[in-house]
């Protein structure tokens, strides 16, 4: 038996955070119905990059990357007056209902938490959006890109002598779901013990700010705002990403202790400069860090990033090449953990894009799958799962209820 076998999720979420949350249930046996609409497909389905440039809801790399788990997909046109009754039947089926629409949307459809409770008192609802269900910003549209700007990380990702570069892509989109998943799994366990459901109001901003607690406390207590330091670290040197031989090849090196410094020096052949008193102590290396970094790069630039990493790690010094996508895909450690599994899909073909959770369980394997095609399970879900007679199904389909 699988950890979430028999757990039924009615998933109204789309784009990033929502599906990335539900994945953790799907990996481990939950039965999920993703509710979409052909009239308004999941924005991830219709965003670049596309397979061979084919614009369409089944060929988006981003969508596939965010959906590496088994789920069913139905289309339901929530704007149609007859859709609500169908939705209510689906809710009757579900244990958990998830959404990440702008607050008010589910209510508008008569599917707010109070409505759901009438159908199923023990229902668990998880609502995830940038600012939460209440407050002056609740109705504002939000995305992971912009949330990253106010996550605390954006202003401190950069070099001290120029405006910050900011985080790559929509970083917080991959952080908020982790908080959501933990909380939703806890809610499920709570209900198992007590019979009680609940409505989880997950504000992505409130979650990700927990990760930068020290910066917030520093501001409160010491009235200090953090500044970007490039790749430097307050109490380690050398600590940076150094240029290596070849086109845009780099290796991170991080030396934390006296022992590691000695090992580092030994690896690079104990050159004369390492014997200078000013580099002997941590304080000295920090004080002369510009010069130190030049010397280090003088050595690394003569070697490949792979060689730098191998020599340093071999001597017990932290080092890692700055992997580009080719390096990542070919990375032996990631391969060991089964990253980028290739799975068949009727429109995508067989692309190695499906990732596992960031953890492995010793007794419960995870399961991956390519995502469902839009509306793939309409007939099964509507006629078999919620028991619409065939004629009714065809009738409603003709009226556009399942668009």
């Amino acid at each position: 038996m699988r950890p979430f076998e028999g757990v039924k999720i009615l998933d109204f979420t789309w784009l990033g955070v929502g599906p990335l949350t539900v994945n953790y249930f799907n990996y481990y046996g939950a039965t999920t119905i993703k509710v979409e609409s052909a009239l308004r497909p999941d924005p991830f389905r219709i965003s670049t990059p596309y397979k061979e440039g084919q614009i369409g809801p089944e060929t988006s790399y981003g969508f596939h990357h965010a959906h590496p788990t088994k789920a069913m997909c139905v289309t339901l046109n929530m704007k149609h007056p007859k859709a609500k009754e169908i939705a209510e039947r689906l809710i009757q089926w579900a244990d958990i209902v998830t959404d990440n629409f702008t607050p008010g949307t589910m209510e508008k459809w008569g599917l707010g938490y109070e409505d759901l409770k009438k159908i199923k008192p023990e229902i668990i609802m998880m609502r995830t959006c940038m600012h939460g269900q209440t407050g002056p910003l609740a109705r504002q549209p939000g995305l992971g890109f912009v949330l990253t700007a106010i996550s605390g990380l954006a202003p401190i990702t950069g070099w001290p002598d120029r405006p910050p570069s900011g985080q790559y892509f929509a970083f917080t989109d991959f952080v908020a779901p982790l908080f959501n998943a933990v909380c939703l799994m806890a809610a499920l366990d709570y209900r198992r013990r007590t019979g009680k459901g609940q409505c989880l109001d997950m504000a992505q901003h409130e979650s990700v700010l927990r990760c930068v607690g020290p910066l917030l406390l520093d501001s409160v207590v010491n009235r200090r705002e953090p500044t970007p330091k490039g790749n430097r670290f307050d109490y380690a040197a050398p600590h940076g990403i150094y240029r290596c031989k070849g086109e845009d090849r780099w290796c991170a090196i991080a030396v934390f202790s006296d022992e590691e410094w000695e090992s580092f020096c030994r690896v690079i052949g104990n050159p004369v400069w390492t014997k200078e008193p000013k580099f002997h102590t941590l304080l000295g290396r920090k004080e002369n860090e510009d010069e130190l970094d030049k010397f280090v790069e003088g050595w690394t630039s003569q070697r490949s990033a792979e060689e730098v990493m191998a020599l340093m790690q071999g001597a017990g010094v932290g080092a890692g090449l700055a992997a580009n996508i080719k390096d990542v895909v070919e990375n032996p450690q990631l391969k060991h953990y089964g990253c980028y599994q290739a799975l068949e899909h009727p429109y995508m073909g067989k692309v190695p894009i499906y990732n596992p959770p960031g953890f492995n369980l010793s007794k419960a394997p995870h399961e991956r799958a390519s995502p469902p095609v839009l509306g793939e399970h309409n007939e099964y879900v509507y006629t078999k799962l919620i028991g619409l007679p065939d004629e009714a199904f065809v009738q409603l389909m003709g009226e556009g209820v399942f668009d």
Partner: protein, 429 residues
Amino acid sequence: MGGEENAKGMLTPYRILDLTNERGYICGQLLGDLGADVIKIEKPGGDPGRNMGPFFHDIPDPEKSLYWFAFNTNKRGITLDIETVDGQEIFKRLVRDADVVIESFDPGYMDKIGLGYPVLNQVNPRIIMTSITGFGQTGPYKDFKAPDLVVWALSGNAYMTGDPDRAPLMSSFPVPYIFAGALQGAIGTMVALHHRQRIGEGQQVDASAQLSLTWPLSSEPLAPWLEQGVIQKREGRVWFRSQIGADKKTVFVGAPNIFQCKDGDVNFTIMAGPSFGQSTGALSKWIESEGMASETLKGIDWLKFEWQTVSQEVVDEFTKDFSNFFITRTKAELFEEAQKRGIMVYPFFTPREIMELNQLKFRNYWVEVDHPELETSITYPGSFFKTSEAFAMEYRRAPLIGEHNEEVYLNELGLSKEELLTLKQAGVI
């Protein structure tokens, strides 16, 4: 059913033994916030993580580390040297009555000292052991030194972050464990709890920060690589979307995500399509009303705009309009007006500016946590979730060194006062 009145949270019945160092603190903390009884076990004298700054009024003291404070609220604290014979016996007694052990030592350490999973499983077959590391418990990198920068580099994220004319970059903050590895460890722990509930056995959770970080790397660089062997790299404040060509030719079209404004920087991601095009449309209208819109910009219907087919020339036209407009306004002006108009513009806020946001104040996000030992209270970020269920949530400061030794060892484990004194003096506790 029922019988959990005034529960602290959803996970009230569970006890967690938290052996983590700074790489794993947040894992236990989230479970504690959800009501679990988290016992932070530190070496006698205190966890090395207590030496991490910033410090309260810059006083470097193990009871004044803001880093320690931030990630260890709602935990009880005991001291125990798990490398000693007496310490291991006590630890095993704790394991007998616990549900989860979380640790973030180097792979192999717990086995080496004789407290690996096979041993703990013997003591308590229901125990879940969650291990958080940079690269995972097994594999060719398992013995790698794994500081944050090294993990970040090997995850592929460094290469995509920063400016093209400079080195790959990490934020000036320890991201890999706190934002990825330790959080995934918490999820794994919960899955294992559900497994145990159904099947009756514990197991190991092997959380890897590197593996976790392949998620934020996203599919953006992966697609052009798979299609045509093209390697995408960091482009600073510009997002290069790939227009994968049917004729096997990939073109990249670059538009900034980050713009300079009068007094800082803002993120404005130029979204298009039926769901998010309104935001860009609203900005265009604003710019047009100020007489600063090019003909190109005026002619775009952002609900229908297609990134797959637009030319760089057109993109340069409208991004020039955006740049010229943003530079004339301050962060505050842009943010305020953006809310009125439904534009997704967000300034790069500092912690102070984040704490001034009305939204978070309205939600009662900030909590006052009492620090009697400092004779003050400090404002902390509050709960990461809100729920309709009425839990008696707590916000207790992080424990002092050995603060709950008596409570746990005398009251709960049943050691005598003499035994506690002996072990304390022998450096076991």
